[in-house]
């Protein structure tokens, strides 16, 4: 009887302690993942990289500045409607409320943009979503650094020019764009049309409907028209089929460039040796040979808390998720510094994103030396550096390598387009652009 009483007393005493633990302030970060559906092979590695990095911060450092991160996964299946439901279901969770959303879908991003300014929660659409959101004066709640689709398109044009012998050599060339027939796939069209008008190349537009499992007609047209270069804005199975079709019609792989969402291991492995030499955009390194990866293995996977398979750490899309998490956590750190508290909310984190400055020295401290480009965000520039490199697939070694310099975008092309598109958005939505000093 005595022992039962003792146990009850101990339990009662423990309640406040447990309560204290439960009510400790946590940084709630919802993750809009897609681990199911036709795009799952791409969604899974990104989600794993994102979640593993933040879990590593929790395990190694006790979170960010000793404040734990509370990851709230929500499955979107890359479906815009479900993505919006996830947003609505998770935005009020935890003491902090949702701090930031990373939708990983241009369609979902477009739907969340108007909501984010009302709910005062930043959207971090890293390298995707609405390109003109780069204009922070009109889109104060959206961040799309380190580069946009439009910047990337101009980088591809410059790379092609370099290979052809100069910008003047673009005149008379034929470049085809094979794109996912969706808001995402259509993003680079205006930029490429402007570039075509400026440099005198012919642009062929070839849309591919979702999901892109059958593209024979598209590639027959490419075979007939014989463009000098092919660019691709694809996602999911569309990428694999396109690369196989290109190989089948003997299109030279080193003249075939995919957007950074068309350049993962998943995209090239099904084509086998024939994918050798295929190019894609990139803004970070592939591979797991960085100290941060070692920490993830040690503090996350060794403890059985990994979100994916250990041997897939370092794949392109895994690293994409990792770099997104790194910039997010750095923005959180900056927000805490600006506001002098760890108990930040979405509205504070927005300030953190806007003052983000992750240079090479900081990357080294984070265990990611030379992993990506330095990023500095300002009030009016939410795109950041806009620099993009090209990576190439080595089918024998089964690995990607960066094979070009990091090009600056052609801002004389993208700048006016961003100004025009954001002004149009501001007019349609009665947004008064803020003044940035």
């Amino acid at each position: 009887m005595k022992s039962i009483t003792k146990t009850l007393v101990a339990a009662l005493l423990a309640v406040p302690l447990l309560g204290g633990t439960v009510s400790a302030y946590e940084l709630t970060i919802p993750t809009l993942d897609y681990r199911t559906g036709p795009y799952a092979p791409n969604g899974i590695p990104f989600a794993n990289g994102f979640s593993d990095y933040l879990t590593m911060l929790n395990e190694r450092d006790g979170g960010i500045n000793d404040t734990k991160i509370n990851l709230v996964p929500c499955e979107t299946a890359y479906n815009t409607k479900r993505g919006v439901e996830c947003y609505e279901n998770t935005k009020g969770q935890g003491d902090s409320g949702a701090l930031v959303y990373q939708p990983l879908s241009t369609g979902i991003t477009y739907q969340l943009i108007p909501k984010s300014s009302v709910d005062r929660i930043p959207i971090f659409s890293m390298g995707y979503g609405r390109t003109s959101a780069a204009n922070g004066k009109v889109f104060p709640w959206v961040f799309n650094f380190p580069a946009t689709y439009w910047s990337q398109a101009t980088v591809f044009v410059q790379y092609i020019a370099d290979k052809e012998g100069g910008m003047d050599k673009l005149k008379g060339k034929k470049i085809a764009l094979v794109y996912h027939n969706s808001a995402y796939g259509k993003e680079p069209i205006r930029t490429l049309e402007s570039a075509a008008a400026k440099f005198g190349f012919e642009l062929m537009l070839l849309p591919v409907d979702h999901p892109g499992q059958e593209q024979k007609a598209t590639w027959l047209q490419i075979r007939k028209e014989r463009p000098d270069w092919v660019m691709m804005w694809g996602w999911g199975v569309m990428n694999q089929v396109a690369i196989k079709e290109a190989a089948s019609i003997r299109f030279p792989m080193d003249h075939f460039i995919g957007v950074w969402w068309s350049g993962s291991e998943n995209d090239v492995i099904p084509a086998g040796d024939k994918a050798d030499g295929y190019l894609s955009g990139a803004f970070h390194q592939p591979g797991d040979n960085f100290p941060a990866h070692d920490d993830i293995k040690k503090h996350v996977y060794d403890k059985g808390k990994g979100h994916g398979e250990r041997d897939r750490i370092g794949e392109v899309l895994y690293n994409r998720g990792l770099v997104a998490a790194m910039w997010t956590s750095e923005a959180v750190r900056k927000a805490m510094e600006i506001h002098g508290t760890n108990k930040i909310k979405g509205v504070h984190l927005r300030d953190g994103f806007e003052a983000l400055d992750v240079d090479e020295a900081r990357l080294k401290e984070l265990g990611l030396p030379n992993f990506t480009i330095p990023v500095k965000i300002t009030c009016d520039n939410h795109e950041g550096p806009g620099k993009v490199a090209l990576q190439q697939w080595d089918a024998k070694a089964k690995k990607w390598s960066i094979v070009s310099k990091f090009y600056d975008p052609l801002r004389d092309i993208t700048g006016p387009l961003i100004a025009e598109d954001s002004a149009q958005y501001a007019k349609e939505n009665n947004v008064v652009p803020r003044i940035c000093n």
């Binding site: 036709p38 092979p41 537009l205 499992q213 007609a217 598209t218 027959l220 199975v237 089948s248």
Partner: protein
């Protein structure tokens, strides 16, 4: 002219690939009147299982194929015991809804068992362009699609013999013609359903192998069912030759439309053109090209 021939041939070959999926629908609809929404997912599940047996268990190709056939037969048995048996004499829409549920169950099961990654499927089917056609006639045709056409032809011959010459085949036809009459002469509806779902599962495996070899085995494979729908509308839900001919008409139609009309309307009309073509046929032959004419006495 060479290009026109190339587009037409490619359309025919692509159409045969659609037919392989449509065949599974036809078999089940013919024998039970059920429109099996899960047919595309069955192709995915079969391909996932095949790759899983080869990659995870290191089985040789022949053993993995036999193992997958066994799994598809077992699946047919489970579907009959758990789902169909309890829905005898229900409205067709109820059975259709049940197959929607089945699609979700199979997709989830495939994910849990084999994961969501893209998997390479290489069982030795020739891949890439036919070099001989390309070098001799400057015509691009995929070797995989030629192989698929030969496989489809073999499958149709096999199914024709099975339906016309075997005792089980005759029983299947009897059930298809009239459930009540078939039951009255001692044909077991439950056994017939297991057999027809098993055959449909094997056809799904063939479709899964062809499509999986083409684009890797991944969850978007289940969406190939969408390609089979216009084929079924056009060819008729109850005709095996209809599935093949319908597939070829759809394949050629959508490819020609994409290549020759696409540039004038912004492209990407392959998908909707197939449905439009099928709907145009429906106006003249509601039962499809080879479907059975339904005569209702009032």
């Amino acid at each position: 002219m060479t290009f026109f021939i190339e587009v037409t041939l490619s359309g025919l070959m692509a159409g045969v690939m659609y037919s392989l999926v449509a065949l599974g629908f036809v078999l089940i609809f013919k024998a039970s009147g059920i429109f099996n929404f899960a047919q595309g997912v069955m192709a995915l599940f079969a391909a996932l299982t095949l790759v899983g047996f080869m990659d995870e268990f290191g089985m040789p190709i022949w053993l993995a194929i036999i193992g997958t056939i066994a799994v598809m037969i077992a699946l047919a048995w489970v579907i009959e015991r758990v789902m169909l048996r309890h829905l005898v004499n229900q409205e067709p829409i109820i059975l259709f809804m049940a197959t929607i549920g089945l699609a979700y169950v199979l997709e989830g099961l495939g994910d849990i068992l084999w994961g969501s990654d893209v998997k390479m499927l290489d069982i030795g089917i020739p891949q890439g362009a036919s070099d001989w056609m390309l070098d001799t006639f400057d015509i691009y045709i995929e070797k995989l699609e030629i192989f698929a056409a030969a496989t489809a032809a073999t499958l149709v011959i096999f199914l024709a013999i099975f339906f016309q010459k075997t005792r089980i085949g005759r029983a299947l036809r009897a059930v298809a013609d009239d459930h009540q009459a078939a039951l009255s002469v001692g044909i077991s509806l439950h056994t017939i359903w297991v057999i027809v779902w098993s055959v449909s599962g094997i056809v799904a495996l063939v479709a899964g192998i062809m499509w999986g070899s083409k684009s890797g085995v991944q969850f978007s494979l289940s969406l190939i069912a969408l390609k089979a729908l216009p084929v079924l509308i056009l060819g008729g839900f109850t005709s095996v030759p209809g599935a093949i001919i319908g597939g070829m008409i759809i394949g050629v139609g959508e490819k020609l439309a994409e290549v020759y009309l696409g540039p004038f309307v912004g492209g990407a009309l392959e998908n909707w053109f197939a449905y439009m073509l099928a709907l145009a046929f429906l106006l003249f032959r509601p039962q499809g090209l080879f479907g059975e004419r339904i005569i209702e006495r009032v």
